[in-house]
Amino acid sequence: MLRRALIFVLGLVSGWLPSSAAAEGTEDAQPPAPTETAEEDWFEGELDNSIYEARVVEQRPVLSAGASNISAAEIARSLPTSGSDALRLVPGLRIVQHSAEGKGHQLFLRGFDAVHGSDVEVLLGDVPLNERLNVHGNGYLDLYGIIPEVVSELRVHKGPFLPWQGAYATAGSAVFELGVGPQLRPGLMRTEVSQRGRLRAVVLAAPSGLPDEVFLASEAVYDAGFAADREAKRGALLASYRSPSFAGFELSTLLSAQAAAWESPGVLRFDGISEHGFYGTYDTGGGGSSERLLARIGLAREHEGTRLDLSVHGALRRFELEDNYTGFLLYEDQGDAKRQLEHARMLGASTALEQRIKRLSSALFAKLGWQLDAGDEREAQVGTSGAAWQTNRRLGARIHSLFAYAGLRMSPWRWLAMLASLRGDLFIYSAENHVLDRKAQKNLGALSPRVALSFPVHRALTLFVDYGRGFRPPEARSITAFRPGTVEDEELSQYRGGQPTVNVADAIEAGLRATPAPWLSLGTTFFATWMDREVAFDHVSNTNLELFGSRRTGAEMDLRVAPTPWLAFGADATFVDARFEHSAHRIPGTSSWLGRATATLGRDRGPHGEAELTFVTTRYLAHGASASGYALLDLCAGWRLEHFDASVLVDNALDAKVMDGVYHYASRFDLNGPRSAIPVIHYTAAAPVTARFVFTAFF
């Protein structure tokens, strides 16, 4: 009892950092055991319930060709530095940090440059995390409130083929499920330190004998940064509770708090490496801070094949960012720095009903939901003195989002499983643009038919064919913009996205998954997506620009081999050809190939290790420019005892100089040099070789 109390206290304490700049929530936990896999009658052997063993059997059946489930064990083995960093485990998903820890990543998936989340939907359980109101980007994702140690599963659905995939799922969705398995109870303490001055502490309290969803976790991080202008501090707290019987219902609650403050190194021109060094900066003084408080309460009841789910969620959010990606190009005297500020509130509710029909091996399901996002956005030009000298944006906005879907899941024959649905979404916007002195209201909708067919033609082989439509609602400020061409000689420096509308993407995919033996799994998927309009977030103007239609075609392959319980290999590769249809130019930032190869050694006790090689081929940029690909080798070695684990990780072991994010646009950072408006390559650097020592105490 005393020990549990101590854990609880430490969990709270670890949320405090020595610095004063930002409130840091904290919390956390450890990777829970893999959730129960769907047993199949052909499967030989016991399901793996360990937290670390590398076994192919962790893979469980999926509903569409591009879906996959990343288990708690996989997450635990990779020791991600944050919830956002855990997305690196998603095959074919590339994340880019162009600031420092605390700022949301830029995401690339299936040929989409999802920027900060405009094309990748992320949910925490059933709570959507894409911010429909965010001053920095449409659908902005901040995943630093998710503590990887308590993620029980990361479910990935590439493409928009499943009914519950909502706004921003044009490229796909990722769902973080939280839970702590019995192996990690009653809790753990984890500390991490790197030679570059990064400290991380996690405390998890999860009393034994309780459901997986009952835990309290905290996380605190201080990072001095691997180079100048990259200091970051953040913290997170996650509290989850579930009661199997609460007035006849199953009750679940979740509370998430997070805070972060970070510096922003900005970008470096490729031609500036010789002067500033590969990891140099222009010392533009950028940075940001954010806080979020999120809560969810859910009720569920299942009776005679009928399941009813009710949930309410809400969030408070503050976000502030200052950056300068163009130097003195636009404003020679004051500089081009911008400061953005967001205050937002979110409230939502949903109810879902599912009725199983045993005779037909099928189920009818339906769900209704509503969410209100309200907030204020501000953006100002900031001079070299730090004072704002021009207001670019002052917007108050509300968005009501309503959705309903209904569908049928059935398996009329052993060789066919079908998930067909029709989803409708309605967005009710109201906004007041105080800069333009305009108020506007607009209602927009989208209808999304989807069908996912799987054909388990053999116990070791399943084929998939899927069709679906994803959608991306416009950002709120677009509804107050002047229509293009209606104002003679208006300098079109404001929103130029044309008429606001819900952008839709139609996608198809076909694939197969073969599991000829319990220790071998391989799959391949061919996919294609067409988008009527493409919107690219422009960091220079901080606007989304309307682009020509685009299409993406490609293929994904993955292989997992576990010849022994202590050895496993995995590899995945994604090829994508992403182009604008009008010009046939490639979509900037995308690459033709990316993939990963992993070798894992070890079991629950004793020595363990992992080697992972990630590769990305040439990144195609705007205007015909390109940046070379890269390969990153990450190594991990450690030793596990019953109550302790000590691991050493070497990230970027080859010390490759990697341009993480690469962009092609004009800038002027040298006021003594001539001004040029011709685009050049800019990049943000990935971290050099970094050794992390991670010590974990299990209670």
Binding site: F270, L545, H585, P679
Partner: protein, 262 residues
């Protein structure tokens, strides 16, 4: 046996990919250099909305940073295109609809004497390969640093336009000194050229007295008879006058600027 082979294969993949790690490289498109000259072939006699036929005899302008733009991947919506077919709007230039990504430029301060310096070299523009469809420029105030003598009428102003206006036998000599806010940008003048590494062309920076798209004129709104209130046949237009503001507003519209290909 085959398991060992598989493991060996995987290890080889690791090693080969690891060997691929090297310093980052980047490939920039090579800019194409094209000469730019002053082009006065579009400064032609025109009849304005008030019925005056204007002939320009002198036109000098101070500007800087000529930018050349491609459409990029931005576009007008299909609905807009369809609407354009049915009801042509007054906005036919790329500046209104095209994204106008700047990928070409002639940087620096320019002082252009259109009438006295036709064909005069303004410098060499650098253009990345692409399909160009627009141009921008920035207007500025001329100073002695431009090499002007202190008594040059252009000093302290953006442009000097002189000429004659004739209507029903009445002839008025006019001179306008235009003052435009420093850094005022003219966005979206026409410039159509597909540029690649083999492109060899001379570009002309042109001012259109007659808007080629809408056929309105640079001098619309000016009634020279009213301006010549003393009837001496000479009119001076300067800042502070309504006529100045009318002419200045038209002068900074992209409708009257463009880059021609010679």
């Amino acid at each position: 046996m085959w398991k060992k082979s598989l493991m060996l294969t995987v290890l080889l993949v690791f090693v080969s990919l690891a060997l691929g790690v090297c310093d980052p490289e980047a490939t920039e498109p090579s800019p194409v250099s094209l000469p730019v000259v002053a082009d006065n072939t579009h400064i032609e006699p025109c009849t304005n909305a008030q019925g005056w036929t204007i002939t320009v005899t002198a036109l000098r302008v101070a500007l800087e940073n000529l930018e050349l733009t491609i459409e990029g991947e931005t576009h007008a919506s299909l609905r807009e295109h369809l609407r354009e077919l049915a009801v042509p709007t007054a906005h036919a230039h790329p500046g209104h609809y095209a994204g106008g990504e700047v990928t070409g430029e002639l940087p620096g301060k320019l002082l252009i004497d259109f009438m006295g310096g036709h064909g005069e070299s303004l410098g060499a523009a650098s253009l990345l390969p692409g399909n160009y469809n627009g141009m921008n420029l920035y207007l500025r105030t001329a100073t002695a640093a431009d090499g002007l003598t202190a008594d040059d009428p252009l000093v302290g102003h953006t442009a000097v336009i002189a000429g004659t206006a004739e209507k029903s036998g009445t002839v008025v000599q006019f001179e306008a000194l235009l003052d435009v806010n420093e850094g005022t940008q003219v966005v979206g003048g026409p410039f159509a050229l597909a540029v690649d590494a083999q492109t060899s062309a001379k570009l002309g920076l042109a001012l259109f007295t007659i808007d080629p798209s809408e056929k309105d004129t640079l001098f619309d709104g000016l009634d020279f008879g009213e301006l010549d209130s003393d009837g001496d046949g000479a009119v001076s237009i300067a800042a502070g006058q309504t006529a100045h503001n009318l002419l200045m507003k038209t002068f900074i519209r992209h409708d009257h600027w463009g880059v021609t290909v010679q």
